[in-house]
Amino acid sequence: MSIALKTLLPVSISLMLMAPAQAKVTNAELKIGISQEFETMNPLISTMVASTYLRYMVNRRLTNLNDKNQWVAQIAKEIPTLENGQAKIMTENGKKKIVTNWEIRENVKWGDGTPVTCADIIFTRKVAMSNNTSVGERETYEQIEKIDVDPKNPKRCTLTYNKAIWNYAHQLGTFYILPKHIEEAVFEKYKDQKEGYEKNSNYSKKPTMPGLYNGPYVVSELKLGDHITMVPNKHFYGDAPKIQKIIVKLIANTGTLEANLRSGTVDKISVLGLTFDQAIALEKKLKTEKADFKVEFEPSAVYEHIDLNLDNPILKDIAVRKALATAIDKDQLVKSLFEGKQPSAIHFMTKNDPWYTDDPKSITTYRYSKRQAIKMLEEAGWKAGPDGYRVKDGKKLSLTFMTTAGNKIREAVQVYLQNQWKQVGVEVVIKNEPGRIFFGETAKKRKFDMAMYAWVSTTEKNPRSTQHSEMIPTEKNGWSGQNQPGWRNARMDKLIEDMDLEFNSKKRGELAAEMLKLYTADLPVLPLYYRTDNAVIPNNLKNFKIPGHQFSETNAVEYWTLE
């Protein structure tokens, strides 16, 4: 197989280099290619990334994160705050709670013309809280203790939270509203059956009903595993979409996806399309040919890192962790492997985050120095052995390094790091596993020394799930939580708990700064780099921007135009 690949691939690549003529894409129709599967369009139930990508075209929420990383009102008139008087903290039975007043914009309607009201919000919460509905995480709904509707205005309601949290606007960014006038009958009929509602929901049975959607587009055709077609929503509250038909086509093989782009079967490849190395190769090819499309890159919120198992006797020693960090030349890594397009990471926050800092006075930074790394290990008692690897008390400085097998980029990074660590006398044994086993067993049950994978670092995010000591996965908590390194730091726990309840944004910034200080000083994780999103777009597509945060490019689909 490998010989065949070596001999046949150059032929295919040279054939690929010859670009045929293509018709110019217009606002009449845009065909987007994706390589990831999507599921039902029910926003409450679906969890796949591709479904989220599609959902933003047809569904809107109360709040949204714009391309400048700021929380803004989407279908709400404004975000209630303590400053504008629409939010207030109250005390009930000695417990602090927050009350927020929301008003949905007058002209926000479902695709069949029915107004979106607070009754839809109440209904959505009711469905989400049913034990027979398989909503993954219920915190967003559970925290809302009660919803009171203004008797004079069905679009105005008060949401009372069971505790005084400051990030309610962030949470409502993932509160997807269901149309009560369509879905209530289904829910009432099947609510007592396990998964009864979702099995019979109109999103599954009649997904082309316009009334199911309140975004700029409605679904006109849906074939799971193949494609989805969307046309403008006549009752959309915002600017009318310019593109008259959008078809999103699933092409799972990324090589075929590129061929489909060249044949004109698709006009655009979404951020869920090509792999990073493919996008780089395509960009290079496009420099030597005249094509009607271009590749766009944007650093994303996904950061690659290495979890260090702090229960490992070697990695327990902070000096070893610091030496490992100092021995990595991250700038060279991103230059040689990613042509500088994936920026190196110094901690878990992205540069777009208001809490981000790279000030060496605030955080501990680890500048590459082979000599310094060797010195740190020597001082920690790890002396060079006859084979070049370090030894302490008769034990070799040897660590296993795991990631998902078959991921070419991660495997290249592993080899690069293995070589760098070898130069300072650390033996690294690479042991990769299929993603299913790596995430389902090894990472979850913390059966690793060093594990490389990625996390999404959302804006102004409290890192509770990855850094609070209660979030260390154990059998007792059903292996929930993502503190895989097993980091226990009482001060960090306190900061995390305080942050949830801190309403002063300046003070929250200070808490975040202290978190970064602890995180970089204690090094439970070696941050590596931020992944870069890529998309291939027609040259004449305007107003398109990869946002670089957790919400996808389709959040602003109504502004896209092909001129």
Binding site: A4, E137, K194, N260, W455
Partner: protein, 323 residues
């Protein structure tokens, strides 16, 4: 014969039941389950959420109990619910099974139609120029990786000379004015996948047919038939080919048993909406209901086609009887 078929059918049901339980049990042993996949994609899922979801999905029950619940629902005609796509299994698999059947059946038919004359001719004229030519292409067909061939076909016939669609199952968003227009559209999308799938099959079939035919034609009774002065066509078809059929029935029957299993590589390369990738993904994502239905279909097809092959042996060779 009737008793034999009945006995085999009962055996088939028994084997399907045993194999289905083994498959179900093995799937439960795989690391991860649908809830764990949710945990991986959402760090905010709490231990309470996990307990609630496991109970809802029945994952808190032992494997045998879950298996019996599954059998019970199958017996009532409910194939279950896909936890990956969040739709009933029959809605998800029905259209894909039809697509896969159309692709696999037409590819198999095309392969047999091409391989049969080529294989017989090569078997009758070993060492001839035609035989060398056929052998060269047979080995070529067997050796070419199907994903590469698929990609090449797309580049040539869809990118460089855009005469066929690059991939898909049908033209999206077109209301066909007649059945003929619909069939024509579907046929256009089937050409490249069928060619890609058939090239390898033709190579394999030609090799089997050729060797089987050569062996049959070396038998003493062929020499006797020739000595009796029988016509060449009678010698070849009545005496030679009929005897060569026995191994070929096994090969063809096994090939037919894969009609609903899907050709994962071809379907993926051509973005053809078949069952192949769906089954692969369902196994990888522990989508038990989808995976189990595909297992049952695959096992049933293998067993049924073996039964058909056994019956056909009797017709091909009168020495075989089932009384």
């Amino acid at each position: 014969m009737g008793t034999y078929i009945l006995r085999r059918l009962i055996q088939t049901i028994l084997v399907i039941t045993i194999v289905s339980y083994v498959c179900y049990y093995l799937m439960t042993l795989m690391p991860g389950d649908p809830v764990e996949l949710m945990i991986q994609s959402n760090p905010r899922i709490t231990s309470e959420d996990i307990t609630r979801l496991r109970e809802l999905y029945g994952l808190d029950q032992p494997a045998y109990q879950r298996y019996f619940n599954w059998v019970k629902s199958i017996a009532t005609g409910d194939l279950g619910y896909s936890r990956t796509y969040r739709v009933p299994v029959e809605e998800l698999m029905g259209p894909r099974l039809k697509n896969t059947f159309a692709l696999s059946f037409l590819a198999l038919l095309f392969s047999i139609s091409v391989a049969l004359p080529l294989g017989i001719y090569s078997g009758l004229k070993p060492g001839s120029r035609v035989d060398y030519f056929v052998n060269f292409f047979s080995f070529g067909g067997i050796s070419i990786p199907s994903f590469w061939l698929g990609l090449m076909l797309i580049i040539i016939f869809a990118v460089q000379f855009p005469i066929l669609p690059a991939g898909g199952t049908e033209t999206i968003g077109v209301d066909h004015v007649s059945t003929w227009a619909f069939l024509k559209d579907r046929a256009l999308y089937l050409i490249l996948p069928i060619v890609s799938l058939s090239i390898q099959q033709i190579g394999v079939f030609v090799r089997y047919i050729r060797s089987s035919m050569m062996e049959a034609m070396r038998n003493d009774f062929i020499r006797t038939a020739k000595a009796k002065g029988l016509a060449r066509s009678v010698v070849i078809w009545k005496h030679g080919f009929r005897n060569a059929l026995i191994p070929l029935i096994t090969i063809f029957a096994l090939s037919f048993s894969g009609l609903f299993s899907g050709a994962i590589l071809t379907e993926t390369v051509f973005s053809y909406q078949g069952v192949g990738k769906l089954v692969y993904d369902s196994i990888m994502q522990n989508d038990y209901n989808v995976a189990m239905i595909s297992f049952i279909i695959s096992v049933s097809m293998v067993l049924m086609m073996n039964l058909v092959a056994d019956i056909l042996y009797g017709f091909a060779d009168p020495r075989i009887s089932y009384t």
